[in-house]
Symmetry: C2
Subunit: 182 residues, 2 copies
DNA sequence: GGCCCCATGTAATGGGTTACATGATTGC
DNA sequence: GCAATCATGTAACCCATTACATGGGGCC
């Protein structure tokens, strides 16, 4: 039930489903994604449950927007979620499942696999670094002296960087060892 | 559609759904999990599709077992999966979503959050290290000189160790910085 | 005219969890 | 007698993705 809470977290200021989708694409890229087909019904349920309220406003371009905003009850629920402790669910790493059985693939395919994986994560790392450069150029207090609202958001980026760097590192090691074995 | 392929990968030797569940719990812990309620129907579909075959055998304890084994067609499908390139899906890191909004929680709760997170991952790291010790004690060729069947399986463990270590590291940093800010 | 962006939604399907149902054997 | 482990399954539900449907506005 986390999407519900993430939307709740974002509904500090009035936003439409379409607006929120942009946030997922631009800000949450490294740890969450959501489709409009999931966002719209979730927003509706949030309103039905009294955790948010919406009003229809005309848009500059296209049809009317439906702007949702968190209610006081919504803020209470958001806090409850945050204070219920960290939820560390089990990941499902598809590519690790593939590595586990990789001895069944042909020799070239094995190296190829790790090289493809490496370029995927190198690209992701580059993206994250670009985001970091943007943030640090924007605010002289980056990273540790940021105000609370920005400080905690920035922490998520720092884990992204560390984790992806670890994966790239592992890919390099794997490639080197596999080449040596042959 | 990865569970299908993981089961296929494991059905090298005849195994029951119940047996396979143990593998998820013991071997795949750090990158996959599956419930019996999902395993049984998937095995049935695998057989319907001609990718595996089963035979019923009496068990020492409890009711008859249904042992599944991969067919030649199943092996071809497994290879196809491995050679289709790495599938790096988008993770959903619930705890990072919480960190993103953590400025909305009270001050003690924020530190508490990271300390809880740290103990969770410290425990996971300890588990992984125990597995590693077991493997290295068992085989003098560990890790780089292992035969293919064991070598690639071991690589998944190495990424687990690196990633979890990176997360613990990040937790430490976060705790230190938050304490300094106050 | 065609394409992309804005904006909202529904329907079908897939993947996964929780709860429920059944029943034998082993060990305390 | 009771709990745990062995063993297989079904049903209801939840979360998420893909595909489909609608329509206005701006740009080339």
């Amino acid at each position: 039930m986390s999407l519900r809470h993430i939307l709740l977290g974002l509904l500090d200021q009035p936003q439409s489903g379409y607006d929120l989708k942009q946030v997922f694409e631009q800000v949450f890229r490294h740890f969450w994604s959501a489709e409009l087909a999931q966002i719209y019904p979730t927003l509706r349920r949030l309103e039905e449950d009294g955790l948010s309220r919406s009003k229809q406003v005309p848009s500059d371009k296209g049809p009317d927007k439906k702007l949702y905003k968190r209610t006081a009850q919504g803020t209470r629920e958001l806090k409850r979620w945050l204070e219920s402790g960290p939820t560390a669910g089990k990941d499902r790493l598809h590519y690790l499942a593939q590595v586990f059985f990789l001895d069944a693939a042909s020799r070239d395919q094995r190296l190829r696999f790790f090289k493809d994986l490496r370029s995927h994560f190198v690209a992701e790392l580059e993206e994250l670094r670009a985001v970091e450069r943007g943030w640090s150029a924007e605010d002289p207090h980056y990273p540790d002296a940021l105000p609370d609202e920005a400080f905690y958001k920035q922490l998520t980026l720092r884990l992204g960087l560390k984790k992806v760097a670890a994966i790239v590192d592992w890919c390099e090691e794997c490639i080197a060892v596999i080449e040596k074995r042959e």
